[in-house]
Subunit: 364 residues, 2 copies
Amino acid sequence: HRDAAVDLAEAEEFVRRVHAEHPDLGSPDARLAAVRAQVAATGTYCHTSVELAFGAKLAWRNASRCIGRLYWRSLVVRDRRYVTRAESIFDELVQHLHTAGSPARRAIRPVLTVFAPARPGVPFARVWNEQLIRYAGYRAEDGSVVGDPRYVQFTEAVTERGWRGKHSPFDVLPIVVQTPDEGVRVFELPESAVWEVPLAHPDLPWFAELELTWHAVPAISNMRLSIGGVEYPLAPFNGWYMGTEIGARNLADADRYDLLPVVARRMGLDTSSDRTLWKDRALVELNRAVLWSFDRAGARISDHHTESHRFLEHVRKEERAGRPTPADWTWIVPPMSSAATPVFHRYYTELDLRPNFYPDEEAA
Amino acid sequence: HRDAAVDLAEAEEFVRRVHAEHPDLGSPDARLAAVRAQVAATGTYCHTSVELAFGAKLAWRNASRCIGRLYWRSLVVRDRRYVTRAESIFDELVQHLHTAGSPARRAIRPVLTVFAPARPGVPFARVWNEQLIRYAGYRAEDGSVVGDPRYVQFTEAVTERGWRGKHSPFDVLPIVVQTPDEGVRVFELPESAVWEVPLAHPDLPWFAELELTWHAVPAISNMRLSIGGVEYPLAPFNGWYMGTEIGARNLADADRYDLLPVVARRMGLDTSSDRTLWKDRALVELNRAVLWSFDRAGARISDHHTESHRFLEHVRKEERAGRPTPADWTWIVPPMSSAATPVFHRYYTELDLRPNFYPDEEAA
Ligand code: HEM
Ligand code: HEM
């Protein structure tokens, strides 16, 4: 569909919504006429700054898998639609990470950087990375993996292009920018752009000896942002972490860092049978370590209990504003102690509202 | 729809399936003709013993919320279609519980007892109880509840009919049988029919002092069994427990026994903030106590890890037999440590296949 002209009905609905939720903008009529004329002449139209910023916020508000939406109005939107050269794109990604958070400021804020929209029939720039910061995975002859098994293929692809990792379990991957004019370029992130948090545990001194670490800023870089019929193939965004993403998924999943057996052994648990609930016990301690370490480092992170309450607050707020909150139960409900969180005990409206973020079939 | 005649298409499809999965029964043609004739004459038809037993097993196999379906062929089906008097129904429920499990045999097996089908336009017998064994809930003046808050209303209803509970936290509720001829009758379950397991913890000696207990047999008694167009409004069934049903729901939910704060306090946890994950820690210990105590008592119970693996084995087995396994992710995935179980990491076919069990709108 990227070769087709912008869907005028979607464009008009979006413009009307922007005006409806911004009474100060007045009637949408003049703007609607301008959009219609631009689409007729060029097949697409150019968002105003207000439309772009509000469109990105709406995309977040409509992201039915996201539990963190109470804060949707606070999104910082960086308009970089004019940036198209590979090196400039990379510089802006680095700048994005600096804006998102730094140990010096001890703060993390939600940021989205939007690059050029897709124009009908014209190739566009993209970034291969799923997230701006992720760790390499190296598969050994015996099939075992050092690092994050999820990124073994990505690591091999960048290695083929000359990147050299240190083969540590937490090597930050380089950014791969692909532009129509310059092809594929590989850039190493400067250390200053990558805030990392070494993990330790409030009660278990040996935990620090595991030498685990995780990055403070989760920045998804492979989703397409769709606003009023215009597609932005490159629009990386970040929030702050919810602890379980790290402690109950990235570090715990059997096909990721698979650390439950490691933690359980150090805890001295009986791992001979699942029935002793050793996985459950190790899982809780791993998650305590994540929350405690992030707090110690001043890196904002939320726990799944608090974020669940906030999400329900969001649902209530939206209800009061007369809006449904589309939500996907299977993603909203946290991946541990789920019935102990209030989001477990209800159903949600499932709706695909635009603007929104979509998986990019063409991204890595 | 209970006043309407049996849906012939559904009846025929069922008879064909029975014959298809029982090659020894030969061609379904003669039976199909008989069913058609019976429906034409009476508006319904009478299941053969084979159809009834296999129909009940299919209803289990099609129960998309049930993780325990690997064992569907092992269901013991008790044909009590001829039992209609209140006292006889009650006796059969007692007998069901004896068949399902007893401390003497140290075993629990899946059993279903099927009573008379609904006939077009004719009132039928039912049982008010959601499960055959459940505990009373008593609301005090100050709003607090002794026992299970879920059954406060039920407890009030039976109290109005003369039942007197001991006001302990674990008073087994009486069975309420309602028949067209005899109205509502209240029966006390004999102690011998109620296998109970006192809860203690493998490592925490104070746990036994909480004086918690739970019944060994979960027997759902308010679902309608629908087989080949015939509705069985009273067809209680039981399996064995998965530990989380007790430890992560019945005893843990804030609107049930709400024991996480109690356990956490005894564990000496810092409950000042959710961020210490005190709920998660208490939850794990509560569930360890459940599994360990049931094991000690010889009451079969499965843990969520093992049952998850078995369910995926069931899905694979069904696949090999060329059948889909309809499943509801939100019910199949266990309510704690969910991402640590393999059922979390995939999607399922959602299908409403018959035979099946349905919530009975007319039951309490
Ligand atoms: C502010 C703090 C935020 C928190 C705590 C948060 C939390 C989460 C969590 C826990 C998930 C599920 C992730 C997973 O299981 O893989 C998620 C998904 C998602 N979030 Fe948020 N989020 C935040 C900010 C944002 C922002 C700023 C955006 C966009 C502007 C956003 C858009 C999304 C989207 C599109 C998904 C689905 C991703 C996918 O399909 O893979 N979130 N969020
Ligand atoms: C053999 C051991 C069994 C195990 C371990 C098991 C496990 C479970 C679990 C964990 C649930 C979810 C309960 C909840 O969250 O409230 C469930 C639901 C269900 N099971 Fe099973 N089950 C077993 C046997 C059976 C049998 C024998 C039947 C019927 C013949 C059955 C039919 C169902 C149905 C209909 C539901 C959904 C109940 C509802 O909608 O409230 N199960 N099962």
